[in-house]
């Protein structure tokens, strides 16, 4: 009985009586409910995904067949391969840059149309938002597979895939920021008889511009990492040689070199972009 009362205390805590004699209700606990939900979900998820800790640990420490077996094959590293990595890594940067540029530029008008405070037509606002939301549901790689079928192999399908993805995320983040802007200057200029677009350009654009640059840089940071896998489906960039290095047993020793190049590129671009974004903010 006492245990049951204790259990009840966890889910429905009884009021605390303070020294002054007043009753204080403790906040409703959510943690126990979350924990129960998580445990249940984890159990179901483990069933569906065949996840088993026993298999994980027996295989993890099987140094011949387990994951270490493939990691061991990465050594000794074939450092001489680095000359072949330069071109693909540059291509990856080029694809990300061009894709980000195109996507961001397209995102600007889309964000204008999706902002409730700028576009009064509800159908347009909701239509553009739905389009952006649907575009966001698919990962870049699926777009890359699709555009590779439409265009020829190479950097073009990858670039377009990156542009579509950038468009969908930059436009979303941008309209969310535009809606929080102070509209007084906009209305003041509009009241002088200027058109809506003109009022936007002169009153809000100075505020939108740094936000837009910052979001585009942020998208560029993300894209450079995504662009590294597009080559897996033949959409250009470093992913192609990475895929080859992983799958071809005699080329396994190239993997580390390629990963190192991706790492250095990502670090350089992320740090430059962060520096610029901090100055913009």
């Amino acid at each position: 009985m006492k245990r049951l009362a204790k259990l009840k205390e966890i889910f429905i805590p009884s009021p605390i009586i303070t020294g002054a004699g007043t009753e204080v209700l403790p906040p409703k606990p959510i943690l126990p409910y979350i924990l129960i939900g998580f445990t249940l979900m984890t159990f179901i998820a483990a069933q569906v995904t065949d996840f088993s800790l026993v298999v994980l640990f027996t295989r993890l420490f099987n140094f011949q067949l387990g994951p270490w077996g493939i990691v061991k094959r990465f050594f000794p590293v074939d450092w001489a391969y680095w000359t072949y990595v330069i071109d693909p890594i540059f291509e990856t940067v080029q694809m990300s840059f061009l894709g980000t540029l195109i996507g961001s530029l397209l995102a600007l008008p889309a964000a204008y149309l999706a902002s409730q405070n700028l576009t009064k037509n509800k159908w347009v606002v909701n239509g553009v938002r739905t389009l952006l939301a649907v575009l966001r549901t698919l990962p870049i790689l699926i777009y890359a597979v699709f555009f590779r079928l439409v265009f020829f192999l190479g950097a073009l399908p990858g670039t377009i895939a990156i542009a579509v993805f950038t468009f969908s995320i930059v436009a979303k983040m941008l309209y969310e920021r535009i809606e929080t802007l102070d509209m007084q200057a906009y209305h003041a200029i509009e009241s002088t008889g200027a058109t809506k677009l003109k009022s936007f350009l002169s009153a809000l654009m100075p505020e939108v511009r740094p936000i837009f640059y910052s979001l585009s840089l942020y998208a560029f940071e993300i894209n450079i990492r995504y662009a590294a896998i597009l080559g897996y489906v033949g959409a250009g960039g470093i992913g192609f040689i990475l895929d080859n290095a992983m799958k071809n047993l005699s080329h396994n020793d190239r993997t580390i070199v390629i990963l190192l190049f991706i790492f250095v590129t990502v670090v350089i671009i992320e740090n430059t972009s962060r520096l610029l974004r901090r100055r913009l903010a």
Binding site: A45, D50, S52, P67, E91, V134, A155, I229
Partner: protein, 274 residues
């Protein structure tokens, strides 16, 4: 009045040199980037692909010889879309959970206010390294543990550590130490200080980060199938490659609504938490 306006306008700092340099740099970058692309026009099958995907997306049973709605969308067989979507979500769920749990000690060991400025740099570097490795690499490595969805779970878990730890570190570095001092003055034990001083500050934010990453991971889990790590990815990408547009359409019908709902719920939950 107009003179004053003109005067203030003239006092504005002039950025045209800087701006034109930036523009020049952007144009140069665009020029250089465009050189990577050789546009050969649309593939001969390109228009067919676009037209068919649009047609089947509107009505997946467009081809009477290959009815896919009943066989793939409204069926709970293991190869059908609902089960594959369930598998995808579950891969993302358990992967995020494992990643989030591993990230907790990881984040504490890389927070400036806990281990100091210098030592936190080691953790930060490891986190960046983990984030750089593409998810497919983890998938291929973990297929050696067990092929199929379990490899996906491990790949998602490890690749999540990077971002989750990074966001956890921000939360930990924001901890208000005043509360701990206040608890000290009441004579609280170390355990009580953690329970009442630290956990309440972390739980909501940690959960919010986890939910946010789960949303991203569902999207990531839809492509893991490409390397044989489970989820809907293999079916979708294979159907695209073999021009089986009916299956492409039902796969999209599976992914799009599910991801939309998850995104909506995730946004609502996170807004409630913070």
């Amino acid at each position: 009045m107009t003179e004053n306006v003109q005067k203030t306008l003239n006092q504005e700092p002039k950025h045209w040199i800087r701006n034109s340099l930036i523009l020049l740099f952007l144009i140069a970058m665009t020029w250089w980037s465009a050189s990577a692309i050789n546009f050969q026009g649309v593939n001969e099958q390109g228009t067919v692909v676009v037209r068919n995907i649009a047609r089947y997306f509107v009505w997946p049973d467009s081809n009477p010889d290959n009815p896919v709605l009943a066989k793939y969308l409204f069926s709970f067989e293991r190869f059908a879309i609902p089960y594959l979507m369930l598998e995808t979500i579950m891969i993302a769920f358990i992967g995020t959970l494992i990643g989030a749990i591993i990230s907790i000690p990881f984040a504490f060991l890389s927070s400036k206010n806990i281990v100091g400025e210098k030592r936190s740099l080691i953790g930060a570097t490891v986190i960046t390294m983990i984030r750089t490795v593409p998810i497919f690499i983890w998938g291929i490595v973990f297929i050696r543990v067990q092929g199929g969805p379990m490899a996906g779970v491990l790949a998602i878990a490890i690749s999540s550590i990077g971002m989750i730890s990074k966001l956890y570190i921000e939360v930990i570095e924001d901890i208000d130490k005043g509360i701990l001092e206040a608890l000290d003055s009441t004579g609280a034990t170390a355990l009580q200080k953690i329970r009442y001083g630290i956990l309440p500050q972390l739980t909501a934010n940690f959960l919010s980060v986890g939910i946010y990453r789960f949303e991203i991971n569902v999207r990531n889990a839809t492509i893991l199938g490409l390397v044989g790590a489970g989820g809907i990815g293999f079916t979708l990408i294979d159907a695209l490659g073999s021009f089986n547009f009916g299956i492409v359409a039902v796969a999209l019908w599976g992914i799009i609504p599910v991801v939309l709902i998850i995104e909506y719920v995730s946004t609502k939950l996170r807004a409630k938490l913070t």
